[in-house]
Amino acid sequence: MFKKVLIANRGEIAVRIAATLQEMGITAVGVYSDPDRRAVHVRACDEGYPLSGRTSSETYLRGDKIIEIAKMHGVDAIHPGYGFLSENEDFAQMCHDAGITFIGPSPKVIRDMGDKIIAKTTFAAAGVPVVPGWSGDASADGKALNSEAGRIGYPILVKAAAGGGGKGMRVVEKEADLAAAVEAAQREAGAAFGDSRVFLEKYITRPRHVEIQIFGDAHGNVVHLFERECSIQRRHQKIIEESPSPALTPELRAKMGQAAVTAAKAIGYTNAGTVEFILDPEGNFYFLEVNTRLQVEHPVTELVTHRDLVRAQLHVAAGHPLPFSQDELTQDGHAIECRIYAEDPARGFLPSIGTLGRYIEPRGPGIRVDSGVEQGSEVSVYYDPMLAKLICRGRTREEAIEKTVWALDRYVIMGVTTNVAFLRDVLTHPEFQRGNLHTHFLAEHPIGPSTDEIPRDAWIAAALLSGAASSRGQSLLTATAAPSGPWESAGAWRGP
């Protein structure tokens, strides 16, 4: 096994990876940008080295700097987390060339699957259903573009070949809007991925997003760890994920799992990956894309399978066979993840920045919080505004929802606007509770509190803590409690 692993990432995922490394007796090496010098993820590691600079492109995207640090400090392997360099085949290749193990699939698999056009062709060849579309050069010929779009039929989805996370993606309802949408998608894709190629796909109305977690080793074994349903999205980005999916029958689950495994075997897939499908209301599923990395939402799989996916990644990367066979894997209970974002749902989910003046995580049985922030943390413009993930497990879906609502009600985040109350309103929506999900759920259902009235308790709290009530201008209540707050939690990541 590795002795020293560098985590080429920041925030909650770096904290979460460090925890598993340390459990396994592996030294965790962190890297950080200037604004992250005092960040939680740095302190979670055993060693930390600077990537001088502020923006992502000056720091966490600088594969050369990261490999230099790794070589200088005797690192055996690099875990890229998600985002940043996780799906960059050049970086994976640079690691191999430097004699450092890249924890993920081979550079070739990353490249092929990173190109959505190649990925789609590959999966179609392996017998997996794919969505009708066109992958010609959209920028070259406006006429071909229009006629191909007409053949597929509107509405049409314009997607970036190198895309992910909804960037470079546009829905087009009619031909008149097509050219402008293609241009915008190309610009966004070019800026985000350095590759502006886009392709067209039939837009399936009211689909579910259901993905299969796969895992392969260097000995030719590939298994799946069941599905995650990630249909609750805003701006094409997931905010609530769960496993199992309320839409899958055991037969459909087996069929989708088998399709993912067959295709993964065909391309020699190793390490963790996710095969994303869309599922139409009739139960037809279509291949969407492969994510050749650990997913943001991997904890829901961990909580229902009772497996640590990062631990399994390290085993496989070190050349060991998979630590579990298909027959040993089961789905036990139900898990839901909520992504906690610094953003304002009332203003089009516009990111919110500021200092976390109050930050208290919920804790309790079956509740896991993966976070990369603490009280006093600065939420800056430089990085993704996701603060944490709240993952709750129950015996049933109802129980998991109840637990999540309970935890959201006790999650204190002040100083930035967050989506905490919005997530609660989604989870308590009757259609969510019935499991009637699709990717336009948030667009179709108005989400919000039943009343905008300020509750009595808030007036009372404000009066008592306003600082106005005493004769000396201090709050009536003065700090008398112990240094750690009266009801705050430790907030450390707790394993599955």
């Binding site: 009595r456 308790d457 009066a463 009536l476 409690a481 009266p486 009801w487």
Partner: protein, 180 residues
């Protein structure tokens, strides 16, 4: 007995909350008069800005984050904004903030300027896209708030701008002397 005036922003009428300390001690019991009702409130524990209250027997954790007279109050997963107001009514400022025309467009978020669709002297119509910027990895289009003409462009593509930074200045209304 203390009398505290609170209001939610956007509402004119403040709510009067009367707080009376019931007995001497460190952190004790209060009688809080709100609207027509009196509430017995016991402070179970308190730490600068957060407290656990018992209101008629109900255990209520609360957090208050103050910024001048403005308070963010956290109760059960939701945050409410309340403002402390002085006894003297301040009516003068209300109404003045609503002007029909803006004189400039500023950045709603810190971020990077991607594209500028207009230059000085250009006329524009309401809702016309003027500037495309990227903030926290999200692209957003800033559109014209009303019809008008550009006086000056104050940013360039690729520039990193702070929140509130002026991006373009508009010509003033037709009746204004200063615009040529």
């Amino acid at each position: 007995m203390s009398e505290i005036l609170l209001k939610s922003p956007g509402r004119e009428t403040p709510v009067v909350v009367e707080v009376q300390r019931c007995r001497e001690g460190e952190c004790g019991d209060y009688r809080v008069q709100l609207d027509q009702d009196a509430h017995d409130v016991e402070v179970i524990c308190v730490d600068d800005g957060s407290a656990v209250l018992r209101i008629h027997g109900r255990i209520v954790p609360v957090c208050v984050l103050r910024d001048g007279n403005r308070m963010n109050v956290w109760v059960r997963g939701r945050i409410y904004v309340l403002e402390r107001v002085e006894r003297v009514a301040r009516r003068a400022s209300s109404g003045a903030a609503t002007t029909a025309q803006q004189s400039a467009l500023s950045a709603p978020m810190p971020g990077t300027i991607l594209k500028i669709h207009v230059s000085a002297g250009d006329s524009f119509a309401a809702h016309q896209p003027l500037i495309v910027m990227e903030s926290m990895k999200m692209e957003m289009t800033l559109s014209a708030p009303h019809d008008g003409r550009i006086r000056e462009v104050l940013c360039r593509p690729g520039q990193l701008v702070e929140m509130g930074a002026l991006l373009v200045r508009f010509e003033d209304g037709p009746g204004d002397e200063s615009s040529r």
